[in-house]
Symmetry: C2
Subunit: 604 residues, 2 copies
Amino acid sequence: MSSTAFTFDTEDVLFTYFDQLRIHERLGECERYADFDRDIYETVVEELYKLARDVFAPINASGDREGCSLDDEGNVTVPKGYKEAWDQMREGGWTAPRAEPELGGGGMPSVIGAFFSEVMSGANMSLQMYVGLSTAAARVIRKYGLEQLAKPVAEKIFTGEWGGTMCLTEAGAGSSVGDNRTKATPSPDEDQVWLLEGEKIFITGGDSNLVSNICHLVLARTPGSPEGTKGLSLFVVPKFWFDPATLELGERNGAHVLKLEHKMGIKGSATCVLGLGSRGPCRGWMVGKEREGIRMMFDMMNEARIGVGIQGLAAGSAAFQYARSYVHERVQGTSLKQIRDPEARRVPIVQHPDVRRMLMDQKVLVQTMRAMAYRLAMTDDIAEAHPDEDTRAKLHRRVDLLVPIVKSMCTDLGFNVAVTGVQIFGGYGFTQEFPVEQLVRDAKIQSIYEGTNGIQALDLLGRKMRMEGGRLFMEWMQDAKAEVEAAQTEGFVDQASALGKAIDAVAAAAMHIASVGQRDIEEAMLQAVPFLNAFGYTVLGQEALDQARVAKKKIADSGETNFLKGKLLNLDYYVATYLPHVIASSKAIRAGNVSCLDPALFTE
Amino acid sequence: MSSTAFTFDTEDVLFTYFDQLRIHERLGECERYADFDRDIYETVVEELYKLARDVFAPINASGDREGCSLDDEGNVTVPKGYKEAWDQMREGGWTAPRAEPELGGGGMPSVIGAFFSEVMSGANMSLQMYVGLSTAAARVIRKYGLEQLAKPVAEKIFTGEWGGTMCLTEAGAGSSVGDNRTKATPSPDEDQVWLLEGEKIFITGGDSNLVSNICHLVLARTPGSPEGTKGLSLFVVPKFWFDPATLELGERNGAHVLKLEHKMGIKGSATCVLGLGSRGPCRGWMVGKEREGIRMMFDMMNEARIGVGIQGLAAGSAAFQYARSYVHERVQGTSLKQIRDPEARRVPIVQHPDVRRMLMDQKVLVQTMRAMAYRLAMTDDIAEAHPDEDTRAKLHRRVDLLVPIVKSMCTDLGFNVAVTGVQIFGGYGFTQEFPVEQLVRDAKIQSIYEGTNGIQALDLLGRKMRMEGGRLFMEWMQDAKAEVEAAQTEGFVDQASALGKAIDAVAAAAMHIASVGQRDIEEAMLQAVPFLNAFGYTVLGQEALDQARVAKKKIADSGETNFLKGKLLNLDYYVATYLPHVIASSKAIRAGNVSCLDPALFTE
């Protein structure tokens, strides 16, 4: 059945890229991307979609059923077919679309990387994680690693010959990364080499048979370093030791997978407990300067968090695609208008209003999340590459502000959209004959890792809203209001006005919380998640409005299509359905209820 | 760790039973329950909790991992330990607390059955389903079966020697039950015996090694019967044929499990494809009169739907209990007030405001859902057993109105509460070391089976709201308003006023939809789910208010306790957090957006 076949809404991606965001024009202003034109981007979209559909998707369910296995030597075997898919991706040169071409990458902007992540993760989240984490580690090594290591190791990873991991979490140090206990001491025998001791948990791709070597990026504390995050340094710890000059692999290093986690989802992704030094000496090289580990991690954080947001989007987007196909296949009941006639024609469920309501909800959320996440990726690209310093600075501020929103909204709503997918499939959705239940299970981790969504909200409210005296938020509001005004002149009077009220409601909530925060930090931070959500729904509303404006112009230019009309319908649905709840959330925040802080509750 | 040990909030159950609902007094007015007093009920609660904790819960995770298996003869083997637990339950006489004592039951009211279902399902939903479905089938047989069968067969099932199933769904007949294709023809050889042919799917407990025989209740169409639901009759089809006089088992009947579904959750519950007549003749007796199958099913429907609602409550309630224990065990980070001090004491996560916010949300939803669901069960008890006819009739109307709300809200919110449980557990919540991820997987089916929540909403809006010219809703509103007024005189001025506004908002939404419905049924029914939710949140708000009123009186009488103060805090949280969204939902409904019905969307 076609509802079990992976598809992707490339029409929406192309609209978002070229009609809405106009990436070919805006990125063209940056020298780094001057050579890319619309044709190239379109070809990349097409090729990546094929790879996702033909190579990644077919082994998604089987990988889930089989999972990973661990042998006594700490070697992980990934599910059948993963290695072949990995190699096909390598052959196509797709392991690192964004990395610099001289190191084997495609030199593409992040906004293209966003599609890469969405389509690959939607097709097979577990397999995509090996790619995503490896290249993230490689970028850190590339940027901060020892000179003799940086480029050659990064190249090995970008080309998919080696892998990489990020080793932050420990049993007692999850959200509280500063509580890391792993130790690093200078090797008495070798220059520039450190010996590591400790245990890291929840290490994604901590080992695999996809690659011949793995470079673990490990946060650890050097002798005499202070407690907390400021005492942490970063190390690259290879599975097999190697000579940086030749990159030839030497002896097995003392970094061993001790255990695989059994998880609700992403079963094809090896989530490892990694022992450092427990089965023989564990050697590593320092990355960057001592005690600057956290700074480097923070430096990669925006990118990583956008990446997880896009994973959330991917779960929702894949679920919506499966559902929009299934509703034509599945025949059940009659039209509501003929419900009393037992002889009436049976109809595909797409004709039932409540099914259409669920599909609409999926569609609007997926398409606005996509616009929001892709826009943020493009903003990040321009913030890095634009010739004008002020433009770069302003865009960096915008990225800082919106990263926690994209991470949190896309993972929460992506999960919800996947859950709606199960509901549309009915009883079948609960079975493993159809791919939607796996999407739900796979997606659930996204609201937790890379900073839980609670941590994102603290980051937004406690850091981003307060940076530079609130400038980030003020700038956003100014731009948002300007869009509202422009939309009003274009005929979106009611819709823009509703969005304007939502923006005001978010601002009012922000003011209220700021004033509470001067009195009591806990009371203020209690509203962090509700505030992020109210803000996030408003940002999604901006995208709905923006897409409708673009669609309206395009319709005026070249006529109406179902797709373009769909963007106008999206806006009206969003304004009617979601914006009233932003007002309600703001009201709830300002009600300032602190029931849960009462010491009478949740006693031991 | 205690966060992996099943616990139950019996304090809240006792408060709900004896302080809020006063079941011992109200049921005492019904002769049928006159012999039960508070002591008996308390003992039952205690004993059932022990059974759930000590017998059901310990095999919950192992049953999930192992699942069920099917042999070539169509025999299902359930997970290890299930049979022993089943037998222990039988020995204790707990298989059918509500059935009549002369047939092996406990003669208890439904409101006690609600606790039975909640605690057992929270401990082990898969295992509990064998109990729940069997007794439901037995009640139908008891009430409508052939005289020579009714009592003896019901007794066999009530005592857990035999099992029972409900066989409604077919591949082309899920929500649209009238599309059933299974045929029943009179046996040419035997009086009163019918021969069945067809295939039923999603049959819970379609076979198991828990019992020596299984009676399937099968909907099928007899020769010459019309299309649709009105042509369906009901049959009891045993796994092993038997002589009704002796109940001795004879030959294997032609009802065979052809396949087990592989599911997201409830893996210990055998979900079967049941072939009727495909491996030899399948014989059955008719239950009730010909073509009255649907009426009998409808007759059991309220009870079954309340039961599924309680399963949803159970998932949420179990998740909350695990979480409230875990937050004391898990140490992570420092108090927000000391976040800049790396030397600050590390605290259990219960001290973090956002964790407390999540716990609060769980607590309020679980406790108000419990009150709502238990109250409905009690209402059903009194509606059946009260000496006064008018009282019975009014309470029947109330049950009819609220059943879809209880089914839908408790399953959707129970699932959400379980998801919140995973979030509180963080990365560990995603692993199978802790029980919360299984709760999420197990619970997902509840919003789908026994009438999807979309069907519930259609039932509410299309049937219940229109019955007797809207009388059911008007009566509810009158009573709700009276409660609001009473609460205002007791000092809950603001909270009652907020609830009053929510009631008005629901009424306004109902009026709006009714007027739309006169013009376009599809436009009206598009709002069915949003309407049910707005109504449902208002009903939960009623329970929050009612519990606070009861708690306030009790505090005045006998002093404040943490528990009682918690009920006052619940109300304030609920009013601040949820009621503004009821107003917003009503606004969204009245906005009347019909985007999704546009034919431009969701084309093939």
